[in-house]
């Protein structure tokens, strides 16, 4: 019996350590189990119906933000790692008068900044329409829910391009690219668009009346989204809503265009009746 050789004080200490250690070990086991449950919760959340159609298309932002609240809480760094203060620099598109406020993250700039609240009504599911978690490349599993683009959970061509596409001077009938000819038009989109394509922005993710009112005050507001600097080389093929005084014959390039926005972006009928001008 090895303990017999130890002094009794040491034996008592050993017993005390055992008594304290046992609950600690049990607590650690409980913790480990709890963490196990945590990863189970992650899988359960990943496959929650809200991530799939049709539930995702009916989800409210509050439902998404229960788990993804960081998209609105996260802020930019105060300084870059090299010590550049976040507010010290602005890109060209941030120099237009309507681009107010401090540097913000992508999601906050589109959802909660004052200009976003004034002119837009973007929802999480305006862009995020769900994806199959087992697909690294969308549309490749038997249960795939959409055809999207590789490596992205949002399809740029059907979302971002709607506002951040290139202006198309050929189709607009401009003598050259807008940055080169804008002086001749008083640098105002409304010099033409007061009468041409005047029925616009009639979708549930934009506030059409607020946009018109803001543009009437300051034509630079248009550049807040369109063409201050286009992100992409393509132009979005907007649906061709008729406008008051529009010609009945369509130009060749508009022949295959949709005449109405996608069904899920159509504004509620009551709003539509009030706001839509009759051609």
């Amino acid at each position: 019996m090895p303990f017999r050789f130890f002094p009794s004080r040491l034996r008592q200490l050993f017993r005390a350590a055992l008594l304290l250690g046992l609950p600690f070990a049990l607590w650690q086991l409980w913790q480990a189990n709890r963490e196990g449950d945590g990863s189970h919760d992650l899988w359960r959340a990943t496959y929650d119906p809200i991530h799939f159609a049709p539930a995702i298309l009916q989800a409210r932002d509050e439902d998404c933000l229960v788990c993804h609240r960081e998209v609105l809480l996260d802020r930019v760094r105060e300084k870059s790692p090299a010590g550049l203060p976040a507010q010290a620099r602005r890109a060209a598109y941030q120099e237009v008068s309507t681009y107010a406020g401090e540097q913000e993250t992508f999601h906050r700039r589109h959802l909660v900044t004052p200009l976003a609240r004034e002119l837009m009504d973007l929802r999480c599911n305006t862009c995020h329409v769900g994806h199959e978690p087992r697909d690294e490349a969308p549309g490749t599993s038997a249960t795939a829910i959409r055809q999207g683009s590789l490596r992205k959970q949002v399809d740029v061509e059907s979302t971002c391009l709607k506002c951040h596409g290139r202006l198309n001077p050929e189709q607009m009938g401009l003598p050259g690219p807008w940055p080169e000819v804008k002086a001749a038009f008083g640098d105002s989109c409304l010099s033409c668009h007061a009468s041409i394509r005047s029925v616009r922005h009639r979708v549930n993710y934009l506030k059409a009346e607020a946009i018109e009112a803001a543009a009437a005050k300051d034509s630079e507001i248009c550049h807040g989204c369109h063409g201050g600097r286009a992100w992409y080389r393509l132009s979005y093929p907007y649906p061709r809503h008729p406008w008051p005084g529009s010609e009945s014959s369509l130009p060749a390039w508009a022949k295959d265009r949709a005449t109405e926005s996608e069904a899920r972006f159509l504004p509620p009928p009551t709003v539509d009746r009030e706001s839509r001008q009759k051609p």
């Binding site: 930019v76 760094r77 300084k79 870059s80 790692p81 090299a82 010590g83 550049l84 976040a86 620099r89 602005r90 890109a91 060209a92 598109y93 941030q94 540097q103 913000e104 993250t105 992508f106 999601h107 700039r109 690294e136 490349a137 969308p138 549309g139 490749t140 599993s141 038997a142 055809q147 999207g148 683009s149 590789l150 490596r151 992205k152 949002v154 399809d155 740029v156 061509e157 971002c160 391009l161 951040h164 600097r229 992100w231 992409y232 080389r233 393509l234």
Partner: protein, 225 residues
């Protein structure tokens, strides 16, 4: 990234002015480099991914290069192949004009779209704008990072780590126009194979003009736009 280095503010200001001039308009390089990948012969070992993460010291999460397994079909007409993509070093990158601090620019010599993450403030606009998912968020450093084609290796006359790690020799770099035309000698393209600019599921190359060439699987082909 050196965290405790003393900052020379004059040097920083001069560097920023230089960068911002470069970001106003994407450079038109004399010779645009791009990646080429053989979708069929790639075995999906992900050695390229790991070599990239190792070289760039990336934590769990961000992956500059990603091997994407594509599987499908019905018996007996089943198929499996890989698409392998990092940054495509586009002719007109969407990430570049979104950057408020001028951290992203396109190199005039080889067309590499480079990023100086030490100037990044973490607004994540470039990440959203890229149609190909190239800019990667590093949640530990709170900055965006991306593939710069191992520019230090290129300048030393070597190829990027991902290319050097490819045991099947199905990933390579070269002047992209020559690669598209099949004029560039590379192990990634077999005899009689014609590289294409787009494969199924890849975002429309007309958006930004990505410098990427693939040898496509028969099920991954799309009509060239």
């Amino acid at each position: 990234m050196a965290r405790n280095r003393k900052i020379d503010h004059d040097e920083l200001k001069a560097a920023l002015e230089r960068k911002l001039r470069q970001t106003e308009q994407a450079a038109r390089p004399a010779r645009q480099l791009g990646f080429v990948h053989h979708n069929v012969d790639c075995i999906g070992c992900r050695a390229c991914e790991i070599a990239c993460k190792d070289k760039n010291g990336l934590p769990p999460g961000p992956r500059f290069r990603r091997v994407l397994p594509i599987e499908g079909g019905r018996f007996p007409d089943v198929y499996a192949y890989k698409i392998n993509m990092a940054c495509n070093h586009c002719a007109e990158p969407a990430c570049l004009p979104t950057c408020p601090t001028g951290a992203i620019w396109k190199r005039g010599d080889n067309g590499v779209v480079d990023i100086d993450s030490s100037l990044c403030i973490g607004c994540r606009k470039c990440e959203a704008a890229c149609p190909y998912g190239a800019p990667q968020w590093d949640p530990q450093e709170w900055v965006v990072k991306k593939c710069n084609m191992c520019i230090d290796e290129l300048e030393a006359g070597r190829k990027p780590y991902c290319v050097m790690a490819c045991m099947m020799r199905v990933l390579d770099i070269g002047p992209i126009e020559d690669l598209w035309q099949g004029r560039w000698p590379t192990t990634a393209v077999g005899p009689g194979e014609k590289p294409v600019r787009q494969v199924r599921h890849m975002a429309n190359p007309e958006l930004t003009g990505p410098s990427i060439a693939f040898v496509a699987h028969r099920k991954g082909r799309v009509d060239e736009r």
